[in-house]
């Protein structure tokens, strides 16, 4: 069931190619022209005023991907060592059609859409990313989810020869994440395979990574090789390291304090030295779409 969520805009609308490749020069060159092409459509459904998509450069050179080191610029520096072809995803557990699915086969069967989402890191910085990808639900339906399944667990590739961070033991490899089945099947949840219409860069989780826009970024696990449908709540890497700091749900929530970072506001990357902090929205601004998933749950306990 592709296209269950539309934001009425594509990256084409938001930032013309020549603009995003050259945004700084462009903005310096003609603020009036920029206002016409960038300022206009960002108030469209799904995005807030001021939600200007980050540049390809910003998105692809500032992020966390501890498999390539713990610095924000490490992934961009080291991820070129990763080979992403051939790529297989092992789908197993409580599914009707378990087995290895090649990335090429998956891409043939899926409908690729453009989704411009806010992306909020637990470290209190954020971006706006024009992803390309398909709904996770479509892939899960392809595998045939059995009735008993309640959760979905994901694992990142382990290949220390190409991912040098895995030679260190600051995290227990493989990186794991998990979602409740209804979260996984939600129309907002996608497997991203591209950014700005180009193949997703290695450092952002090539060839395919999860994107759950209402949760802190670490839930959106990268370079996935294994998907397992389970009855029990699966392990999640950061939750294993420090359950007090990183809950299983980890929904973006300004009201639930984090022991390490205040979550009340965030810094939007790319705004320059004096860009104002912006208030963080509950469920990262997707409350209308996803609040129903957590009805009756105490979000301060199930953080």
């Amino acid at each position: 069931m592709a296209k269950r969520y539309t934001s009425d805009l594509t990256w084409n609308d938001v930032t013309p190619k020549e603009v995003f490749f050259n945004r700084r020069a462009f903005m310096a060159g003609g603020a009036a022209l920029a206002a016409g092409t960038i300022g206009g459509p960002v108030t469209a459904q799904g995005l807030r005023e001021g939600d200007t998509p980050n540049t390809f450069e910003e998105i692809s050179s500032y992020n966390n991907f501890y498999e390539f080191g713990t610095g924000k610029d490490d992934p961009a520096k080291y991820a070129s060592a990763l080979t992403t072809s051939p790529w297989n995803v092992e789908i197993g557990g409580l599914v009707d059609n378990p087995g290895d699915y090649s990335f090429a086969d998956i891409m043939e069967k899926m409908t690729i859409e453009e989704r411009v989402y806010r992306f909020r890191c637990v470290e209190a910085w954020s971006m706006v990313v024009p992803w390309n990808g398909f709904e996770l639900a479509d892939l899960l339906n392809l595998a045939g989810v059995q009735d008993k399944a309640k959760y979905v667990s994901f694992e990142t590739l382990v290949r220390p020869d190409e991912m040098w961070g895995q030679k260190r033991s600051f995290l227990e490899w493989p990186y794991r994440e998990g979602l409740r089945l209804d979260e996984a099947m939600h129309p907002l949840t996608i497997m991203a395979t591209g950014i700005y219409g180009k193949d997703i860069p290695n450092q952002n989780g090539a060839p395919m990574r999860l994107v759950v826009p209402w949760k802190y970024g670490f839930k959106s696990i990268k370079s996935i090789v294994k998907i397992t449908l389970t009855e029990e709540e699966p392990l999640a890497t950061w939750n294993m390291i420090n359950p007090r700091e990183y809950g299983f749900y980890s929904n973006v929530n300004p009201d639930v304090d984090h022991p390490r970072w205040s979550q009340a506001s965030e810094r939007r990357i790319g705004g320059g030295l004096f860009a104002k902090r912006i208030p963080t929205l509950k469920f990262n601004g997707y409350e209308e779409e996803v609040a129903g998933l957590y009805e009756g749950m105490d979000l301060t306990k199930n953080y």
């Binding site: 995290l171 304090d257 390490r260 030295l273």
Partner: protein
């Protein structure tokens, strides 16, 4: 070896300390320059904040080398300790200012919560507070006024401050990082060398 020590001592006697203060401004000028030429990466605020904190810790550690250099090697570079201490305080103050002004942008609600609730910030802030009396009394007049003994006792607070600084660096990381652990290990070794000074052996009171 002793020839080298002699050279160092003779040179140290001749070299004035004031150029250190000028040199200390160069890295800051470099940061400002990089800020305006886009050399600090995608998130310049974090780069500036982290860099200033790191420099402060490095200079702080340098001050801890001064007395072991004299005790174990006979190198007298004592006169450089005060400028180094003050430069460290300068970097720490800038580190704090960047956090307050650029990072948290004077959102006092969040700032107080951070200081009171987040252990790594609490510890960093404690280290800064401990350094304030040390910076204020880093002059000859204060030594005279307090008396050398009191002044020396007061300045032993720097041992606690540098330890807290190192701890702050380790705790600010989300995982155990080799770099920050190395800094903390160096600090612990340098403080270990002073253990006898801080806690002298109890002499027999009856003799």
């Amino acid at each position: 070896m002793s020839a080298l020590v002699d050279t160092i001592n003779t040179t140290a006697r001749k070299v004035p300390t004031w150029p250190l203060y000028v040199l200390a401004l160069l890295p800051v000028a470099w940061l400002v320059w990089q800020t305006f030429t886009g050399g600090l990466g995608i998130d310049p605020i974090k780069t500036i904040e982290h860099q200033l904190g790191l420099w402060a810790l490095q200079v702080f550690i340098a001050t801890l080398f001064v007395s072991p250099m004299r005790r174990y090697l006979g190198c007298n570079i004592l006169k450089f300790r005060r400028p180094l201490g003050l430069i460290c305080f300068f970097y720490v103050s800038l580190h704090l200012l960047v956090w307050l002004l650029l990072d948290l942008q004077l959102h006092w609600g969040e700032i107080w919560k951070d200081i009171l609730k987040r252990p790594y910030i609490m510890i960093g802030m404690a280290a800064f507070v401990l350094m304030i009396p040390l910076a204020i009394t880093s002059n000859n007049a204060s030594i005279k006024k307090l008396g050398a003994k009191t002044w020396q006792s007061l300045h032993k607070l720097s041992y606690l401050a540098v330890f807290l600084g190192g701890l702050h660096f380790v705790m600010v990381q989300r995982v155990w990082e080799f770099d920050s652990l190395t800094y903390l290990a160096i600090i612990i070794v340098l403080l270990g060398l002073r253990f006898r000074q801080v806690f002298p052996k109890q002499r027999n009171q009856n003799s």
